[in-house]
Structures are given as C-alpha cells and as structure tokens.
C-alpha cells in the first residue's frame, strides 16, 4: 500500500466542504475507476459527489486522463466537473 493525493475542485470541493484527500492504494493494477470505487467504499460523502457529478473529469498529475488510466503511488489525482473557462 502507498499514498496518493486526491484533489476536488469547483462544485465537488464545495459539496464536500473540503479540497483534498490522502488515500492508501495498492501498489499495482490500480486505475482511476478503481480509485473512485475505493474512495466510495471509504467515504460515502465522496461517493455521492463523484457519482452525482454529470460528465465527471479526472486529471492525473495535472493532465486530463480517462478513467482507465493507471495510478501509481505518489501520483496526484484530481476530480472536477467539465471546465468552464474563457
């Protein structure tokens, strides 16, 4: 097991009332979708927010990724709604 940092932005951060989780993940065979499942098991509030966000986006080490992208210990993962810049 090793730790990864999970960040929440915008409506996700606001609904949770906090911006960051640190979570233990297995060393191998772990992707963004597995992380969502694990977070949901450990934190019901996070599960609700992630599943209720339409078109949830994920970034791995500050790059947009699909949910099938592998996560390694030490990575920074962020979850947020579709971006609305400009």
């Amino acid at each position: 097991m090793a730790k990864i940092k999970v960040l929440y932005f915008a409506s996700l951060r606001e609904q949770l009332g906090y911006a960051e989780d640190i979570i233990d993940v297995p060393q191998a065979g772990f992707d963004i979708q597995s992380l969502i499942t694990l977070l949901g098991e450990k934190k019901p509030q996070v599960k609700a927010v992630l599943t209720e966000t339409p078109r949830l986006r994920a970034a791995l080490n500050q790059t947009l990724v699909s949910f099938t992208t592998a996560v390694k210990p030490g990575d920074e993962v962020a979850f947020f709604p579709p971006m609305t810049g400009g």
């Binding site: 915008a10 951060r13 970034a59 709604p81 971006m83 810049g85 400009g86």
Partner: protein, 149 residues
Amino acid sequence: MQHVVVQEAAFDVGHEYTRLAELSDHVGGVSIFVGCVRDTAGDLQSLTLEHYPGMTEKMLQNLSAEAFERFHLAGCTIIHRVGTLGVGSPIVFVGAAAAHRAEALQATAFLIDKLKTGAPFWKCEQFKDGRRVWVEAKAADDEAAAFWS
C-alpha cells in the same frame, strides 16, 4: 513571443496589443479577443473563477505553443483572470500576431475555443438575491473546441 499568465489583477488591453504589434516588422495583423462577465438578466452580482494551480498554467502553455506552431505566429498571448469579478469585468485576453490576417484571426478563435473547455477553470455565478450557481459546460463549447481537432 509567448506570454501566458494566470492572475487576479485586471489586464491592460492597449498594453497587451502593443506587446504583440511591436514584435517585428513582419507582423501584418494583430487579433485580440477579450471575454467579459455578462449579465443577461440584470440579476448578476459577481462571477468567481476557480482554477487548478499548476495544471492551468501547463495547459495554457501547451495551448499557446500549439497555436504558435499551427498558425505560424510571431506572438501569442493568453491572460486568464481568477477570483471574484464584477459585471462587465474582463475575464480573459487572447491575442495573436502574424504576418497575415487569416492566421491571426484563426489563432484567436482557436485559443478561445480551446480554452473554454480545455483548461481547468470553473465559473460560479453569485446573484443579487444570494443564489450561487456553478456555470454548466455547454455542448456548443465542446463542439467549437472539436472543430480545431
């Protein structure tokens, strides 16, 4: 010249124009777009822009580099504000300097279309009656960004 900034402060359009126009004698056209806080129904108090520090700068720099190469630019500027902005406030400045007008104009449209859906900014509207609403992403913005793919 590529100039990419995320800041709370306002920007000076005249100053940013001059920076692009004076790059070289080869510049034949400078194109600029500025996005502002719009109040369609007269009920908006302010707009707050949140972002993902670090990722934002990286994505805007990638976007600038892509425009610079693709449209053969002499200069490219992206300035995006964050924080709480009043009605009418400028939010974003994108600008391009090129030898020919078509490249400058296309680069500007490319930059703002891509930036709308491709950089980690989120807008929250505060209304005069106290409501707070996160702005929803528009399908039209995804389509505009996809046009350039």
